[in-house]
Structure formats: structure tokens, C-alpha cells
Symmetry: C2
Subunit: 344 residues, 2 copies
DNA sequence: TTGTAGGCGTTATCAG
DNA sequence: CTGATAACGCCTACAA
């Protein structure tokens, strides 16, 4: 017989009666206290306290056509990158009355499209999407959405909409230049997953090396669509050393691959950085502990998450259409032992 | 003038009119198709299709006092452990019409208490909480909740409620026995965070070593309340070697610490496994790639996540109170090079 | 600054 | 198996 209890819950009307005002006044005290007189506000607050009133989110959503859910669309939960982004978001969201709901589209544009539709139908307070590479249908939905929409993790001045991220193309180019600056001349690329951001890093990498004196350059690019992992880094290094044995350095898609490659190089007795240089991407916490420390490109993942939430909160609280948010947070090349070869 | 458009959305009533039935019949076709006649169902389905009807979640929640949100309470987003759990949950949830909403209580019991209250007020479809160690108030709320509640990540036959996990006490004991079996006799423990599950692993570890011939045992337990990281593993190993320099093995709280300790041992020229054995916990993907491979205790994280969702789904679909769900998924000691010392 | 009236889209209830 | 009638608790609009 454990059916739902007779709902004896306290409603706005109960509070209003207790406070001697109307229901709408109670509602206003809760949502927009500044438009209510000091006196009413006090009475209402006392009544809320006394009765233990708790607003009903569903009723509010139905009446206002708006929820307090911020939707987040990410391509992967495996990727350690997104755990930092999430951390930033949750840290920031803690100060605000919003809930975060995650949709995982598994690097599949059509799944993303479906999830955008699903989220939008729930009248979210805001939407955060990873990347700038949605399908045209997705882009149309995002453009038409009547809530703030922020794209994160990437930055491209020529793309439309609000965005917080950094340029993956420039990051790839910076990695290539760093390795060249350290004297490496036959530089490879190890890449997994090959999502659009990875591809832009590769493009930047290629362009930066273009016109240098390495005729074998294109043979040194080893990529796969498989998901990234430490083991895969070891595997891709082995493949590189078969296809282009004279390679003297690599830029890896991310630190997982780079760590795998570094450990594999050690097993093969390859001296790092003397004989072979390695640069990773993302700068995970563990990278600096490797022997030698892994050179990597530090990306502002936590900050992106934090800013994404605060931007949405700001957009929601200011009535006027706020300025577009287009923030390039940049990245940093962090040199450590794995590329610290002596240069004359 | 970008106010909300005149809401021209299609409602149940529109569909009902189109199909020539009543609104409630449409509602039933959507929620409980089997109680509607074949004929009505067809007509309704056609109308839904034609009009592009999409149910309104808020209205449904208000009327039924129930949402499709499964709440998840975890102590950390940093911890790589939970990303596997999440992956299992999202993979399983993909087959069902539920959304997952994550609350991060940051290892703070009072934050957890607050979040449980917040979630419960939203009338969730179900609730998943990590661990068995809630405050009394939290436990009371969970007991009184009128939705399925599952505790995950831990298993204790003497605790109440539904749970899916494994015994951390046994895992700690198994690690200690493994190291002794490999001939190590002065075995330390490195621990961070020291949440309740970690403490139970330590208890199991201590009990398993109790009565052995090591008088210094207690000096070899190095713990801190700091969050776990690879760097911290290195640091704790240094501390152990100061406080008990004759130690010949360690069991680490988790693989992050173990990897940090292994890398630090390498820097110090300590031979592993000959002079020093290491056993981690969780068996991360990277652990098998270390040089030497890291012995670890594999835990069924993905499976726990998957089962947690499917258990809730099952409980929701069967009307009758289903049997209690109390599943001990166990763990596995995976021996690799870091403890593979020759034993006579 | 406050209140009145009405409706948001769905589901529970109970009768047919 | 189907339907009429009432909520569900709050918010928008407008008026005072």
C-alpha cells in the first residue's frame, strides 16, 4: 500500500495566506525580491521559513516555459579532458540555482543533433556545446534557440555565435615550432579519434612544417579513428618507427598518447630527449611526473568550464541583450625533459 | 523585440482532436500503450506523427508528481574512477527515456545531505548515491524517498538498502596478502583523501598483516586528507622512505598514487620489483603500460554504473515491489611486473 | 508596489 | 477499453 502520500505540500498560496499577501507577491519575493517592498518581503520570508515552503520546479517550468537546467553536450565521457571542464562548471554552478544535465553524443554528429533537439524541448536555461562543428541542422536549432548558447573548447574568429576556447590550429603549429626550435628535424604526428579539433591541430602542425627540409613529412603522420588511450600511444609509436624509422620527434594528439609513446620508447631503449623528442597536448597532472617530464601544451580546461557557466548566468540576469561572448583563452607550451635537448 | 514566440506548440488536445479520441487516450498511448485498443493506438500514432507532437516534460511532472530524471550523487569529479562509472550509466541510459543529473558533494557529508534534499524535491525517477556512509539525516531521507534508491561502489552485507559494489575491506586484505605471497615482508600503505571506502581498504590491509612478523607495521602507513594525484604518490613514497626506510613494498590507495610512487622509485634508482613491490588499486588503463607494469586491483566500475541504471529502470517498470538488489561484484588482483618478484 | 483572473499541458480519478 | 472533470502549483498579463 505504499502509494504516494496525500500530498500535503506547502504551496505559494499557503505562504501567501500566512503572510497576509497574495500569491503573486510571494512568487516575486522568491524570483525578483528587489521589486517587492521591504515590508512585504519580510513578512513573506518569515512565512516561508515558518512553513518550510519549497518551490515546485515542475509547476514553475510549466507556467514560465523555462527550467533551471543548463544542458551540456560533450562528445565523450572517457576523455579526461572533459572531467576538468566539468569540474570548472560544477564549481561555478555551486553559486547559482542551476542544475547541469549532460548529454554524451559520442563524437557522433547525428546523436548530437538529436540531443540538441531533446534539450531544447525541455526549455533549458542555457546550452553549452563542445566544439564549433555541428551539422547544419544542429546549427539552425542553436541559432533559433531562445536561451543563451555557448560553444566551448574551440575558438575560430570566423565562426558565428558565442564561444570560449582557444585555437587548435595555432596549438598544433606551436607544437611543431617548439620541436623545431629544439633542433628536431624529422617530426611525426600521432593522432587518435581525429575529431574536428584534432584535425585542426594536425593542420596547424602540417602548415608550420611545410616548406621545411623534410621530404618524408607526410609519412610521419600516423592517425587512427580509434579512441585515444595510453596503450594506443605505444602502438602508434611502433607504427611510426616502422613506417619512418628515421623520425626524431613526435607531437601527440594528447597526453595519453604521448605518455604511451614515451613509455614505449623507454622499453625500446630510445633515449629521450637526446635521440627522440616528444610533445603532448593538454598537460595532464601526471605528465610532469614522467621520467623525463613530458613537454606538453597546457589548455585552460577548468577555466573554460567555469566561464561557460558564469557567462550563461550573466546573460540570464541582465535583461538587455548582452554583448557577444567570444573569448580566446589561449594555451601554453610547457617544456619539460621530453623535448629539452641541448641546442647550440 | 525577441520575446518568446506565441506558443504555437502542439498539445495532447490537438492530437486528440486529430485522432478523434480524447486527450487522456492519447496520454495512455504514450505512457501505457498496452491498455489501449489496437485501433485507437493506430489513430493516435498517426496523429502524433502528422502533427509532430512532442510531450511537455514540465506539464507531465506537475500532473504526475514525477520526473524522468535519475539523480546521481558522487563525491568527486576529479577522480578518474567516476568517469568509468558515468560511462556505464550513460551507455545504459541511452536505451531508456531517462536523464541523468549529477550532484557533486565533494566528499562533504553535509553537502551530500543538502543535495539529497534538493534532488528529492524534484521528484526524481530514481536516485543513485555513491557509498554507504551517509549522515543519519541523509539515510533517513533516502529511506523515506518514494523512488528507487541504489547505493553504489561499496558492498557491506550488514548495511541496509539496495547496493551494487564490492567489499573495500576485502580488497585491502587481498592486496596485503598478494604482496606477502610475493615474499614482501615490510609492507607500507599510501593513502590520500581517506574517505570511508579508503579507510575500509586500510582496515582490511591492516587486519591481513596483523600478527605478522613486522613490528614497524604501523609506521609504514602514510596517509593524508589531501586529494589524490600522481604527484602526491611521489611525495608520499618519499615520506615513507624517511619514516620507515626499510620498507620493501607498498599498497596504494589508488593507481594515481601508485604510478606516482613507481615513477619516484625509478628516479631514486630503486629496483622494482626486486627491491620494492608496488600494488595499486582500480587498474586504470595506463597501469599496464608502465615500466614495469603496475600490479593493481581491478574494480568493476563500468559494470556498476550500467547495473545501477538498469536496476532502477527495472524497479520502475515492474509494479510489484521487486526483490532487494544487493550485488557484490567483487574485484580481481591483477599481477604485473611491479610485484612480480621471483619467489622460492 | 500589489493584486485579480486565467491558463500552462498533463495526469488521477472514477464512472461508463 | 474509454472519457469527462478536476486538479497539479506557478506565472504572465493586465489593471489598480
Amino acid at each position: 500500500m505504499r502509494k504516494a502520500e496525500k500530498k500535503s505540500s506547502i504551496t505559494l498560496v499557503d505562504v501567501a495566506r500566512e503572510a497576509g499577501v497574495s500569491a503573486i507577491t510571494v512568487s516575486r519575493v522568491i524570483r525578483t525580491p528587489h521589486v517587492v517592498s521591504e515590508r512585504s518581503r519580510r513578512k513573506v520570508e518569515a512565512a516561508v521559513e515558518k512553513l518550510g515552503y519549497v518551490p515546485d520546479a515542475a509547476a514553475s517550468a510549466l507556467a514560465s516555459n523555462r527550467t533551471d537546467v543548463i544542458g551540456l553536450l560533450i562528445p565523450s565521457l572517457t576523455n579526461s579532458v572533459f572531467s576538468d571542464v566539468l569540474r570548472g562548471m560544477y564549481d561555478e554552478a555551486e553559486n547559482h540555482p542551476f542544475s547541469i544535465q549532460i548529454g554524451n553524443f559520442r563524437y557522433r554528429p547525428l546523436t548530437e543533433e538529436m540531443l540538441i533537439g531533446k534539450f531544447l524541448r525541455q526549455k533549458p536555461a542555457g546550452l553549452i556545446v563542445a566544439g564549433l562543428d555541428q551539422t547544419d541542422i544542429s546549427k539552425g536549432m542553436l541559432r533559433a534557440a531562445d536561451c543563451p548558447v555557448i560553444q566551448i573548447m574551440d575558438y575560430d574568429a570566423s565562426a558565428e555565435g558565442d564561444m570560449i576556447g582557444f585555437s587548435h590550429y595555432e596549438a598544433g603549429a606551436a607544437a611543431a615550432r617548439h620541436l623545431r626550435d629544439r633542433g628536431y628535424r624529422r617530426i611525426g604526428f600521432l593522432g587518435a579519434r581525429m575529431d574536428p579539433r584534432t584535425q585542426r591541430r594536425l593542420a596547424g602542425f602540417n602548415d608550420a612544417l611545410n616548406g621545411t627540409d623534410d621530404p618524408q613529412q607526410s609519412k610521419r603522420v600516423i592517425v587512427t579513428s580509434t579512441a585515444s588511450s595510453v596503450s594506443l600511444g605505444a602502438e602508434l609509436l611502433r607504427e611510426l618507427l616502422v613506417r619512418a624509422p628515421d623520425s626524431d620527434a613526435i607531437f601527440c594528439n594528447n597526453d595519453d598518447l604521448a605518455i604511451g609513446a614515451l613509455l614505449e620508447a623507454q622499453r625500446r631503449g630510445i633515449r629521450i630527449p637526446e635521440d627522440f623528442g616528444i610533445c603532448g597536448f593538454n598537460d595532464l597532472e601526471m605528465s610532469k611526473q614522467m621520467n623525463p617530464g613530458l613537454t606538453s601544451i597546457a589548455t585552460p580546461r577548468y577555466e573554460i568550464g567555469r566561464l561557460a557557466i558564469s557567462t550563461i548566468v550573466d546573460a540570464l540576469s541582465s535583461d538587455k541583450a548582452s554583448d557577444p561572448t567570444r573569448i580566446d583563452l589561449g594555451f601554453t607550451v610547457v617544456m619539460r625533459g621530453s623535448s629539452a635537448r641541448a641546442v647550440d
